[in-house]
Amino acid sequence: MTDEQHVDPVIEADLPTGAGSAGEPPPPAAAAPPSRLATAVRGLLVPVLAVLSALVIGAIIIVLSDLTFFERLSADPGGALGDALGSVWSAYGALISGALGSPGAYVEAFASGDSDQIISAFNPISETLLAATPLIFTGLAVALGFQCGLFNIGAEGQLYVGAVAATFVGFAVTGLPWFIHLPLAVAAGFAGGAIWGFVPGILKAKTGAHEVIVTIMLNYTAYRFVEFILKLPGYQREGRSDPISKVTEASSWYPPLIEGLRANWGFFLGLAAVFAVSWLLFRSTKGFEFRAVGFNPSAARYAGMSIAGSTILAMMISGGLAGLAGTGIVLGITRSLTSGVSAGLGFDGIAIALMARARPRGIIFAALLFGALRAGATPMQSATGIPIDLVVVVQALVIMFVAAPALVRGIYRIRVPEATGTEVFSKGWGS
């Protein structure tokens, strides 16, 4: 376990990130200590450039995957390039207007003064909030793991199991008022995810099995488990042969923020979770132990902290948060469970946690960005035929650029005040 090179990326973040970095010394290269604003801008520079670079590479992929482009390139290079730029423009245009709405629609809606029309103009933003809700939870789940030195790739599976539990409480319990039923279903989701997080936690603590392999395997297991449970009589919807659950009771649904839009109070539960996790990590004793264990396990043990206990508890809370992401879907969007409930939300959580440098408050913004990408992807596919998978590619690139800030600085030739230690929290399989 001794590992002098082990440096937590969060505590030793190379660029100060505004809030929470008050204790870090100012960069020695600067003549005067930079203002708070300048520091904040600095901190945002890498994520913003990362997203931009990812979008540019995404554009190149759009162009290169168009076979007619190559056929035309030799005959009419100018026209081919123009068309290529046009298709990129229309794809990203559809992506943005699908995520934020189009200015024309807003103007028209407000001019008409019709409340229904105004509400429907805000639909894209509502969809973005809706898509961001589970992402906040999975991002928090991964971030909490990072803070405790754990890489939870299993948010996907924990989300599945949480969704199974929440759906069950959602349809099996009837006759309760919503203010009892909803919290009950949400708690079931948390518990389901926590159970699925407990397994890698205890295996890591007791046998040393690396959580990365275990959680990945549990993802596949959870996927099969959901397929199994969706065919059980009593869980499967009556009269259906495809794998789909019964419809949950209306009393277990997250109430909508505004009648007529799909965005719901699950988003605010997400915000509450952000502050709760932030408090847990940075204001509570348990959170201090988590971070100590993540930062330097040997020192933590020497100080009398239980590494096993912290590992298990952190994995359970992390799993529970991922389970809450499941409730955001089954109690907020689909209102029943299907086998495709997650579609990579757990993996987006990794991107979000990295982008926010595992800081709870940063996760809100990262989740909104990825939620916007997700919300805009479907309109983009239907309008321009560019497959949704483009968003996955863009996300992978964002993670890459964010996790290797030196790469972004190299591309854009940004000078760094001071290069700090290596960013490592994974150790070999044995330690």
Partner: protein, 425 residues
């Protein structure tokens, strides 16, 4: 750790004692399942038939089917497991516990197959052949991981490399009409991803697990994107020729071994060559010694003039090539056309096989056979229509992986510098 078990009276390792009890209870549990659960509802005179000769095989020696009385066999399995469990609980097996565990599990699996084949004929040779088929890509993945980790770089991107290799093999193989070109292209793309991993992990000192995860997500995204955007319109780009089976003249007629190991296609023989090469190279050449030095103690290796970073680059790229070629097996060697996410975690299972095989090529192959067997049994049993939901059978390879990783990590030793970036002083 296990040595303490054999010496009562000396300092007793409490963890080892507890593990001994757990394993003993596990044997008794297996015995109970075999004796009470599996025998229920079987007529006393029922038999289970195992075919040992490949269906439709004209050549080879004539091997009769293995017919066993079901109930008696199950009781024998139960008795053996119970016996091992009793010994384990009373005095333990000392350092031989792993061998005994393997025997107990193998005996129980045979009992399980007997139960599944009651009153039917199950093609045991079919399962064994499928075991090798399923183990093939896992072994390629494990070898890829091994090449990287022996030099101190964790390669969790095997999954993405396999997937991209499968995709490239199918597309290039179809576009050129030549599957050899497809195979070479898959190797090149694997090398490209290996280079990406190496640059991120070595040059930019990015966390190696995150770098691998990025490559995995990227591979899933880009293959999904292109197959939706291009392959659905141009189906002719996803119809490669498959490599033919090439039975080796005399060897393929050996009973059981022949159909398993000597009637495959080019991938199988390439794998044997690769295992031999890596084994020899790693343990008997100057190159191997340097690689292992870099993986164990890079500073010391640097001191004696070995180029640490260069060695790491070279090995990660080599690993990428192996995984890319192995990925091409999914399309060019097996199903023929590319399907989104067709690797379904085989790369990660390969990683577990590498750990199970203690970072040695031969060990990795044997471990892959275990995983391949779990996969093959699952595939066969779902055809036999037995009273177990297919979803649970599909979980088996993943659960086996978890058990293996949990049971072995800490007992097998990873290269000491695995996962740590190296910085010259």
């Amino acid at each position: 750790m296990t040595a303490a078990v054999a010496a009562p009276g000396a300092i007793v390792d409490r963890g080892a004692v507890r593990r001994q009890r757990i394993i003993g209870i596990f044997y008794l549990l297996l015995a109970a399942i075999a004796a009470f659960v599996l025998t229920s509802g079987i007529a006393p005179e029922a038999t289970s038939t195992f075919a040992l000769k490949p269906a439709g095989s004209k050549t080879g020696l004539d091997i009769p089917n293995l017919v066993v009385p079901s109930v008696v066999t199950l009781y024998a399995v139960a008795a053996l497991c119970g016996f091992l469990g009793a010994i384990q609980l009373v005095r333990g097996f000392g350092t031989r516990w792993a061998v005994v565990l393997g025997i107990a599990v193998a005996v129980f699996v045979f009992g399980f197959l007997t139960w599944a084949a009651v009153g039917k004929s199950m093609s045991l040779i079919g399962i064994l052949q499928l075991t090798v088929v399923k183990a093939l890509p896992i072994t390629f993945g494990a070898l890829s991981g091994l090449l990287c980790e022996r030099a101190g770089v964790v390669n969790i991107a095997i999954e993405g490399m396999l997937l991209t290799g499968a995709f490239t093999g199918a597309v290039v193989g179809s576009a050129t009409g030549n599957n050899i070109v497809g195979l070479v292209a898959a190797g090149f793309v694997g090398a490209a991803l290996g280079t990406l991993l190496a640059v991120l992990a070595i040059r930019y000192r990015m966390d190696q697990i995150i770098a691998g995860t990025v490559i995995n997500i990227f591979a899933a995204g880009i293959t999904g994107f292109v197959s939706t955007r291009v392959l659905q319109l141009h189906r002719e780009l996803n119809e490669p020729q498959r490599f033919p089976q090439i039975p080796i003249p005399v060897l393929s007629e050996i009973p059981i071994i022949g159909p398993m190991f000597f009637s495959g296609n080019i991938f199988l023989y390439a794998l044997f060559v690769l295992i031999g090469l890596i084994h020899y190279g790693l343990f008997y050449t100057r190159w191997g010694l340097r690689v292992r030095a870099v993986g164990e103690h890079p500073r010391a290796a640097d001191t004696v003039g070995i180029n640490v970073l260069g060695t790491r680059y070279r090995n990660v790229i080599l690993g990428g090539i192996v995984a890319g070629v192995g990925g091409a097996y999914f399309t060019l060697g097996s199903t023929g056309s590319f399907v989104q996410d067709m690797t379904a975690g085989r790369g990660f299972i390969g990683l577990a096989a590498m750990i199970f095989g203690a970072w040695t090529p031969v060990g990795a192959f044997l471990a892959s056979l275990v995983f391949g067997f779990a996969d093959a049994v699952q595939a066969r049993l779902s055809i036999l229509n037995i009273a177990l939901p297919s979803e649970f059978l599909l979980m088996v390879p993943y659960l086996v992986t978890i058990v293996v990783v949990a049971g072995l990590v800490g007992r097998v030793r990873a290269p000491a510098a695995d996962g740590r970036p190296y910085e010259k002083e």
